[in-house]
């Protein structure tokens, strides 16, 4: 495996200690990644050197900002292999992007007798918008369940597609809990055979694997800037040109119209149609820097690196008595490992990990239906990224072993209250 250790120097935050000199081991990357200096500088530079509102201002700063904003769109379009730049729409985040598809495409196309097919492993961002819309329109939502080994076989997907004939199949390319990724191209092809439209939630895929929307052939794909080393406040909606053109606009306001009268409005062309209001300008410029950074290092290298670390950690965790890893033993795995301890609640685990410098998440990770299906209320999740090290993976394993030990019941007695 190519060492990515040199990358650590690009991330200023990794130099900090958590408290009392305990170094930081940032294993909360599935929630949000850190930023290299090139991204932070791109944002500062925008504000210090050439910022103005974009969209056809006839003065030098606005020309420069517009040019950089649209260059970002080009870079992101080529990052995901889009056919047209204007198929890339900037939104406030992956969540906003899914809501846009739900309200615009869904509002136009979903009928009371229709079915939307999801997997039980979806993030709330890919569940709640459909539930909100279903409450209005009245269509059905079906969930593909997991097998006992946490897997979801393509055969089960095929059968569900055949039996439900969903109008939409919306699924995550990679689970933010199970540490698995799904065969997007294959499932998309099956869905298209049934006439289903496909939305792929790539929030956990974009940071870690090379995406080609044309090869995947999904109709819609979304991801977030802050999970690919980019800024907060920006997300990407990719849609096929023809679909985006047929959809009504979602948010209304400046920039998305070609004409407004007191009687009504005419919609602007793509991508402006879906970018109402002043867009996330510095965020787009930061996102471009992030995407360039990842591309330079190479998505393949990143994927391999973080898989190595995650499998190392997973192997170690599985050895510890009373620790269960929530995810399959084999198959297509990513840099995420979630687990539960028999003696300690996920919150106490995360808290105790933090004492040891390790940033990990505890809770349901916005996947309550998945946790419920697994009979769990909370898990602890470690998620690796390019800047993590084997030492950090080992530190995690040792720490978890200690914590499991520490919280072992010892037959303590509460001091009786003096009355």
């Amino acid at each position: 495996m190519p060492s990515l250790t040199h990358c650590r120097d690009d991330f200023p935050i990794l130099k900090r200690s958590v408290h009392d000199g305990v170094p930081l081991a940032f294993l909360d990357n599935a929630a949000s990644t850190q930023r290299p200096l090139s991204v932070i500088n791109a944002i500062s530079e925008c504000y210090e050197k050439y910022y103005a509102n974009v969209h056809r201002g006839i003065h030098t700063l606005s020309e420069e900002s517009t040019e950089r904003y649209e260059r970002s769109r080009k870079t992101v379009a080529s990052f995901i292999g889009a056919k047209h730049d204007h198929e890339v729409v900037y939104t406030a985040g992956a969540t906003a992007a899914i809501n846009t598809v739900a309200r615009s495409w869904g509002g136009q196309n979903l009928k009371p007798t229709d079915t939307v097919l999801l997997t039980i492993a979806e993030h709330h961002a890919n569940i709640v918008p459909w539930q909100q819309l279903a409450a209005e329109i009245g269509f059905k939502i079906e969930y593909l369940p997991l097998q006992d080994d946490f897997q979801l076989e393509t055969n089960a997907v095929r059968e569900a597609l055949e039996s439900y004939q969903p109008k939409l199949f919306a699924f995550t390319a990679a689970s933010n809990v199970l540490g698995t990724s799904f065969p997007v191209a294959e499932w998309t092809a099956l869905a298209h055979q049934q006439g289903s439209t496909v939305l792929v939630d790539a929030a956990q895929a974009a940071p870690h694997q090379s995406i080609n929307v044309q090869a995947w052939n999904a109709d819609f794909l979304v991801f977030s800037g802050h999970k690919v080393c980019g800024p907060t406040g920006i997300g990407v909606l990719h849609g096929k040109e023809q679909l985006l053109e047929q959809m009504p606009p979602f948010l209304g306001g400046g920039g998305m119209i070609s004409r407004v009268t007191t009687e009504g409005f005419e919609t602007a062309a793509l991508p402006d149609k879906f970018e109402a209001g002043t867009p996330p300008i510095s965020e787009a410029i930061g996102l471009e820097a992030a995407v360039k950074y990842l591309t330079e290092i190479g998505l393949k290298n990143i994927e391999e690196h973080e898989k190595t670390l995650a499998r190392h950690a997973e192997h170690g965790l599985r050895q510890i008595d009373g620790v269960s890893v929530i995810g399959p033993q084999s198959g297509e795995k990513t840099g995420i490992v979630s687990f539960v301890l028999s003696h300690a609640h996920a919150h106490d685990v995360a808290h105790s990990l933090s004492d040891r410098g390790i940033a990990a998440r505890a809770g349901h990770h916005c996947t309550m239906p998945l946790h419920h299906a697994l009979g769990l209320t909370a898990t602890t999740r470690a998620s690796f990224y390019l800047y993590n090290t084997l030492e950090e993976a080992e530190h995690l394993v040792h720490s978890v072993a200690e914590i499991q030990q520490k919280f072992t019941p010892t037959g303590r007695r509460r001091r009786r209250r003096k009355q």
């Binding site: 009392d20 996920a346 990770h365 209320t377 001091r415």
Partner: protein
């Protein structure tokens, strides 16, 4: 900059004692008032049963639940403390008092774990167990919200 209290501080003997050997944990058949709620952050659940006397005193308090050390130990401390108190005294028992009762200093996110039982208690006193059982006002909390993590 927030100083994250270290493990030793939070999981001190007193807390772990209450966790492993809680006061009045379990079902309680004689409750006159009860309420339960969960903390969506971690799935922690707390149920509180109260027996209130005619003159508005807590004659007995029990809790049941599942969750992290802090939520469960703090619930144990709470029910132990409130027995014998009047309703006015309960109303005056603030979130700050609850955090003080717990003892170790908590960061904002973990305060939510500690305050879960306190919130449930505030609702329980308004939730009599009787035929007119549909008093739902206890369901809406004031104070910091208990939302999920991402």
């Amino acid at each position: 900059m927030i100083k994250m209290p270290s493990e030793q501080d939070i999981y001190e003997e007193h807390v772990l004692d209450h966790y492993e050997d809680p006061y009045h944990r379990g079902p309680f058949g004689e409750a006159t008032h009860a309420h339960e709620a969960n903390n969506p952050l971690c799935g922690d659940e707390i149920h509180i049963d109260l027996k209130l006397s005619a003159d508005g005193k807590v004659t007995e308090a029990w809790f049941d639940g599942e969750g992290c050390v802090i939520s469960q130990a703090s619930a144990s401390m709470l029910v132990e403390t409130i027995e014998g108190k009047t309703l006015e005294e309960l109303q005056e028992f603030s979130a700050e008092d609850m955090l003080a009762l717990f003892g170790p200093k908590l960061t904002p996110n973990r305060q939510k774990c500690c305050l879960l039982s306190w919130r449930v208690l505030q609702s329980a006193v308004h939730s009599p167990i009787d035929p007119s059982d549909d008093d739902q006002e206890g369901a809406s909390f004031s104070g910091p919200s208990l939302s999920e993590e991402s």
